[in-house]
């Protein structure tokens, strides 16, 4: 019995790390631009199709494809920001929201036209295998995905801390006017940030492709999971996104085990409501407002 719970907890943490990567993308975009990417789940699904597509041609395991998906989504995010979203930075919040809803509809529409509504499973032998560590049995696909996600998250945090560009992104998030005063080209920072945020979603998409069968309508679920995580953790907070991802991964896994798999989202929403009432700006959000 304890082993069962331990295994479920471990599985929840592993998927939680991948969720954290998705949420990290959403929170970085919000932290710098104060824009909520309502099409985040759609970006995850693009990543899933990249993962599925490359796997079905080359049979390279999907976790190794994640950096490619990240690169593809980086370019998409950068281009979208440059061509359209930068013009919406000063517009009211609901206008930005509608803009991203239109992106979401267009992406899902394109997925449906190009690939149809059928789900596309990735059949690999690793899906059946698991690593045994003492009494623990860790799903191979999940472990690989979590390790890759962890590597990408570490890389991203190092980039934000060490590189010049990363520092200008943090500067823009901390103090927009100050950043402009010292000569940071803010539009460029925005475009790179959008690219990074969507790259996180894309990489996570390739990682989850073997776990959830790829299909266009998964997008809403991922958008909602990412929303729940960043709001529980605190919009704009990196720590919040990372811990929030693990919390939601755990809560989903435990709710599915203790109650029923159908109720796992209810559990997340209940958690969200409690956190919002207790700390309206999330666990790690700025509380003074």
């Amino acid at each position: 019995m304890t082993t069962l719970y331990l295994n479920v907890i471990a599985g929840g943490i592993l998927i939680g790390i991948v969720y954290a990567l998705i949420a990290l993308g959403l929170t970085i975009i919000f932290g710098v631009m104060r824009i909520v990417n309502f099409a985040h789940g759609e970006m995850v699904v693009i990543g899933m199709y990249v993962g599925y597509g490359i796997w079905s041609v080359t049979k390279i395991p999907p976790w190794m494809i994640a950096p490619v998906a990240a690169l593809a989504l980086f370019m998409l995010g950068y281009a979208l920001q440059r061509s359209i979203v930068n013009a919406f930075i000063e517009r009211p919040q609901h206008a930005q929201f509608i803009l991203f809803i239109s992106f979401a509809l267009i992406i899902t529409g394109l997925h449906l036209v190009l690939f149809g509504p059928d789900s596309r499973p990735i059949d690999i032998i690793e899906s059946m295998q698991s690593y045994s560590i003492g009494p623990l049995r860790l799903d191979v696909v999940r472990s690989q995905a979590a390790l890759m996600a962890l590597a990408l998250i570490t890389g991203l945090i190092l980039f934000l801390r060490q590189s010049m560009l990363g520092r200008s992104i943090r500067a823009a998030a901390d103090n927009l006017i100050g950043a402009q005063v010292i000569g940071i080209r803010i539009r460029n920072v925005y475009s790179v940030t959008a690219g990074i945020g969507m790259a996180c979603a894309g990489a996570a998409g390739a990682l989850v492709a073997p776990m959830f069968d790829t299909q266009p309508f998964l997008a809403t679920d991922f958008t909602l999971i990412a929303f729940i995580i960043v709001i529980v953790g605190g919009l704009g907070s990196l720590t919040g996104a990372l811990l929030g991802g693990v919390i939601i991964g755990l809560s989903e896994a435990l709710a599915a085990l203790v109650f029923s798999p159908a109720l796992k989202t209810v559990f997340s929403y209940a958690l969200l409501t409690i956190v919002l009432i207790w700390r309206p700006n999330g666990l790690f959000g700025e509380q003074s407002r």
Binding site: Q93, A95, F103, I107, T220, L224, L272
Partner: protein
């Protein structure tokens, strides 16, 4: 200033009267299309009311669904007259709305967080209904078929296409005049003040919590009213269609495309968006590419939000004013 906020009611009155006069001469295709237009216009008016108080609702399907389910369950399982069941649904939706507004307002959940709170409640209730056998769960709730020969639409509130055409037109027109009056009332000014700057509004003595609860209660009530009648028209209800998140999103497109500033924008938006939606659906079915409708929909919204930031209706008004000699 006062004139601009409360335009003379008779142009809108004439408009609704002309649309009503069209009813008997339309064929069943146009009847059902325009009925859907009225329904989305009503939902848009309701959504726009919350937006005017600065509250972004992404869970409007909850209010619609609660109204629809309450009305359907009371009439079918309780044997209660729909004349009482629809008001009951309206009240239940309004209560649910007040509760969400109170939680949000009391614990200062604002902006994006409030929008996600509305999603959270809507999804919670949807999953609850999915697993609640009394209302049919995922299998859905069905109204008994009516016998068209013995049925008296004014008693059962269920009738043919023409009946629902007039029914939806009537409540949509009523809702329009209600929202119009409210926006010009003291509450309308309070809502706009809150949406501009809540802290400043409070400092000036605006009762923020009460104003917000009232806005959401009326908005949710209107959605519940429309939902109740919609349920009677459909005859079947499923949590995954009546309460789904996509519906909450669909509802907010017409008011935004039409123009957020004025209630008539919501009505105009529905006249533009719903036929487009139907056209895109038909195109999707004809070509066999089911994503075509979603794609067209997204592109049109993108075009409107990028090139007509204040929506279609204000632009039309501007055009008419400029064409007329001052």
């Amino acid at each position: 200033m006062k004139r601009a906020l409360s335009p003379r009611p008779w142009p809108a009155f004439v408009f609704f009267l002309v649309v009503a006069g069209l009813g008997p001469v339309l064929d069943s295709f146009w009847l059902s299309l325009l009925t859907l237009v009225f329904f989305y216009a009503l939902m848009g008016l309701s959504w726009n009311l919350m937006m005017s108080a600065g509250l972004l609702s992404l869970g409007h399907a909850l209010f619609l669904g609660l109204g629809a389910y309450t009305t359907a369950v009371l009439t079918a399982s309780g044997g209660i007259s729909p004349w009482l069941a629809i008001p009951a649904g309206t009240v239940i939706s309004a209560l649910a709305g007040s509760m969400i507004a109170w939680v949000g307002g009391r614990f200062s959940v604002r902006g994006v967080q409030f929008a996600v709170l509305t999603i959270a409640f809507a999804e919670l209730v949807r999953v609850l209904f999915d697993n609640w056998n009394f209302v049919g769960g995922t299998g859905g709730f069905f109204l008994k078929a009516i016998n068209p020969d013995t049925n008296r639409p004014l008693l059962t509130l269920r009738g043919g296409a023409l009946f629902f055409y007039f029914a939806f037109l009537a409540i949509t027109a009523a809702a329009y005049f209600l929202v119009q009056r409210l926006m010009a009332s003291r509450w309308g000014f309070r809502w706009r003040a809150i949406s501009e700057d809540e802290d400043a509004a409070r400092a000036l003595g605006v009762p923020a919590l009460r104003s917000k609860v009232l806005a959401v209660a009326i908005s949710a009530g209107l959605a519940g009213l429309g939902g109740g009648l919609f349920g009677l028209m459909q005859g079947s209800l499923f949590p995954d269609s009546t309460m789904r998140l996509q519906l909450s999103i669909e509802v907010l497109i017409a008011p935004i495309v039409g123009g957020l500033g004025s209630p008539f924008g919501s009505v105009m938006g529905a006249f533009f968006v719903v036929p487009l939606m139907e056209f895109a659906n038909v195109l999707g079915q004809r070509t066999g590419y089911y994503g075509v409708n979603t794609l067209i929909y997204g592109i049109v919204i993108l075009a409107v939000i990028a090139f007509l930031p204040h929506g279609i209706w204000p632009r039309v008004v501007q055009f008419v004013r400029s064409a007329r000699p001052a």
